[in-house]
Symmetry: D2
Subunit: 333 residues, 4 copies
């Protein structure tokens, strides 16, 4: 769970030049920038509502390397469900969210396995992986979901339904092993067809905490997750398709600092006699911004995160919704 402390490289090129980038695991949070870059950048965005407007869905398709560079995320499909806060949802709302998640899982699993989801994936073996640290509340989403999943690989008798196996690999401080090492070994022995990895994510914006579910067929990427996986978990590294389901439970403390700089800039800009100061601050170089935030947060800034105090209840409720979505997607119930 110990983050790698890897300094996030400042000073990237392109539109965001001059901005120290705080990590987000959500494709959605990169979208705005991308759009303003034009239509022909290899990124397709589709938005719609379900369940009487209570769930907003956004599908971002990154179709080219150019799009991947622009958005800072690998090529593939990113489906995002935006909902109210779990603590404010009633049971019916939660079931609707599980249904939408199930539909998304079936669609992406069908694509990954080159099957029509109408067939229901008979005989397919899904390995469910609960990433994160069960002992750190906001990082415990993956282990908690696994605790709810009905595991059938050892008891299923016929091939009418998929079978699910599951593992909570732990984090490197607990195992001394990369999650990728553990999973590669298990996959070689048990030969699943598909990995579904569940993970707690870091978002850029506090209002996303607990309210956004991201589903992607691109797997888990280096540096993502609350616990900062050093290596990625992708079809490339594991040998089979990897769907990832994630929900932001933390925001990097650096994001708070950066947002404060922006807010100060806006204040200065509005204050008449300081015209130009805000813009100057806003455009302060990435190196300088990084230095400023480092001064506030100390050398371990990338290891500090912000989380709300009701995160235990949020993670508990989300773990039921996500396991329910997986059950509905693969067991049809």
């Amino acid at each position: 769970m110990r983050r790698t402390g890897r300094k996030q490289a400042p000073g990237r090129t392109g539109k965001r030049r001059g901005r120290f980038e705080v990590r987000t695991d959500l494709a959605l949070e990169s979208r705005e920038d991308v759009r303003s870059g034009g239509r022909d950048n290899g990124i397709a965005v589709r938005e719609w509502k379900e369940e009487g407007g209570r769930i907003s869905l956004t599908e971002v398709q990154v179709k080219s390397e150019k799009g991947a560079r622009a958005i800072g995320k690998p090529m593939g499909t990113y489906l995002t469900l935006e909902t109210g806060r779990p603590g404010d949802q009633d049971d019916g709302y939660r079931e609707d969210v599980a249904d939408e998640l199930a539909a998304g899982l079936r669609r992406l699993a069908g694509k990954a396995l080159k099957k029509k989801d109408a067939q229901g994936f008979p005989g397919v073996h899904v390995l469910a992986v609960g990433l994160g640290n069960p002992y750190v509340t906001p990082d415990s989403l993956g282990p908690r979901v696994l605790g709810n999943i009905r595991i059938t690989r050892s008891i299923a008798e016929d091939g009418d339904l998929p079978v699910i196996s599951g593992i909570v690999p732990g984090v490197m401080a607990q195992t001394g092993m990369e999650t990728a090492e553990i999973l590669r070994g298990i996959i070689r022995e048990t030969k699943p067809d598909l990995v579904i990895a569940v993970d707690a994510l870091a978002a850029r914006s506090i209002r996303r905490l607990g309210t956004t579910i991201q589903l992607t067929d691109t797997g888990i990427h280096p540096g993502s997750g609350v616990g900062n996986h050093r290596h990625g978990l992708t079809e490339e590294t594991l040998g089979i398709p990897v769907l990832a389901v994630g929900v932001p439970t933390v925001v990097g403390a650096a994001a708070i600092a950066q947002d404060t700089v922006a807010a100060v800039a806006a204040v200065l800009e509005k204050g008449g006699r300081t015209r130009g100061m805000g813009a100057w601050l806003e455009n302060m170089g990435a190196e300088e911004q990084y230095r400023l935030i480092r001064e506030v947060l100390g050398p371990e800034l990338s290891q500090l995160y912000v989380t709300p105090p009701d995160i235990d209840e949020t993670v508990k409720l989300l773990s039921f919704t996500i396991s329910e979505g997986i059950h509905r997607a693969f067991y049809g119930i």
Copy 2:
């Protein structure tokens, strides 16, 4: 565990006028201000080192109401141990910390009970209270310490040693009751002589996380702790003396925002052509500062906290050190 969301009142009088105050539970973090206010303010500060300089101790005595107003903490004694980070301590270091904590506990317990600690408190009944939420990692220090404490009230046979009873009262979202209500009831029934309450604290500075232990004879005060106790736990509310042992495990997210404003101010001040801007920013009114931070963090700003990802390991190690300190103080082992 749900914080009360109570907006921390801006605009206090005195030296800190014009500054939106971010909460700290550490008397030590109020000290600097106080000192500059002069010697005759009813606050006595004593500093020394122990164990070859590895442990810094500071005792702040708030001796008058004037001092209490100046420091923003009630009258009483605040003993602070500053150490290295728990994960970097070896076993011997941890034992030294437990010894220093035990010495402090014996001293304050002796004062509270009006006994000489040399007598070892035979027959005294101590009620150990583990405040906080066991399911939220940085708030689980109290419950974890209680899990390690040797409880003797039901098995002790003679009166040579104190007896310890213990309770983990839970947080209001779990019980629907004020901790003070639960404790008052238990105290009335079981008649302990002294409460030792263990709690996770909020600090102002990130470098204090896990490295500072505060021991005080003033009890627990409204709004303190990671979980923001609404009512206080003091001799006044509980009827018997209350020693409180706390370690900061979180920093309010608002502190990050505020520190960033200060850092930006410093940058602007240094930048020649902006002379005066930094000072202006620094002195921006409390209301305005609160509005700015609220814009960054949203309306629930006081509920967001910053914590490091290795907090589970830190809390685990500290829970052994603190329970060990309590054992040594009262069982002499």
Copy 3:
């Protein structure tokens, strides 16, 4: 959780003379004996089925002191639900069980509070108590149920519904206090109208483990529960009515020994040439039987229990069913 080791007194009078009695917390398991004692013994038994025969209900009413002596349980109502094993139930089955439990709770609560349950108990304050040790799987039913209960006392705004507060008092080895002391104190401070205590029970028969829910208005009695509460929790000791919901999760190891003696007796009886031996064994005096079982199990025989290895799953499923039953009884949902 440490059982009191109190030797269960052998040699009672009456029909069961000469039999060392192994404890059961289920009134149902005393019934057979009682019936053979005749109709006018102050015990009324009513049996029926619900939900298409999937749930068997039995209500034992102990109406006189004579009946109480006969059955070895205090006067009051004992409602028992017999179901299939939790792991074999589908979701619909579990909801039916929750519904039946809710109906029973409403009925007994109405009687205890002298209200018509049709009124829905507006403004009533229920204190839910999770007895047992969260760290010992078969004893963790009470704490787990409490983890699922929606606590409203601190947030409810009007008086249309009852409010629920809740406490997990822990076991004496953890607190050094009697559960009755803790509850009496809390009740005095917070003034609830009714206690609902949830506890794991000891049964006499293995087939009852996880399949029988007992609801009674007689409270919790000395020596009952997996963890053997030393004092009772009753209207007499707590001052307000106490409903108790319990499920057997263990069988005392002594029951196994005793059943084996009976089975051996039957074998000997059937074997022609040993006629009389079985009867002799069956009727062996209580003292001798106790000595024999003590020889097999050692001096701590009353502290040893038998439990199935899937008890964690059983307790988890039951904790959802029971909390659901409580929600439906009091929140009407």
Copy 4:
């Protein structure tokens, strides 16, 4: 964790003919029988005391297939430490036990790795495995030990010390995978030199619960452990040497029944007029005995176990002693 329910085959040949065998994971509990079989059976037994007689050590070496058949355990070394009950030990006692365990681990590791332990195993990679179900108290020893082990594989910098990696593979009901599958995969990826598997065991005798530590170089065998691993974990199945550390935390309920039969037999034998009955009962055929016990315990008899109620404290204390022993063996501290 769900036991395989496999009926333990009655009716073996040899001295124990006619006896339904209740499983024990302790070589020590097979010894008596073996000894009476003579000296030349390929089994060497050595007994001694350490630490002023507080720790009894027994080393059983099974040197031939004939010995293995006689004892019902594979060829190899079985070192057993017998101590007082963990709850009755003081800190010094526990440290002595850890020291003896460390000495045994070093000796068996040296043999397995064909190294002199004086060299301290520099550069050796040990994979520590915590078998069992963390959610079932008596089966949680392995996972708890792993929670205490200092994992160094990902952080060690030079080759002066061994490195330890660790995994808690879960039980089949949670993963749908054989533990052997998971471990084989991980071993293939991370190439450790040695496995140390920690597991909770089933004993034949109640007095062994928590008081006996068995260390063996023969690995984990099919059907052993509280959770009944279906496949073995041995050098044969995993490809590298496997040391197993185990402590009995349960006794099969069938053992209670069987012991009761024996006790009844003894009673009958002593009772003058029934001479011959006891012997007849004692020698009752295995099939009949199995039928009798099955009648008492029901068809799932092999899944029921007996455990004491203070098992949580016992497992907690043992988990510290065993992790300490592993640290001292490999890190020399």
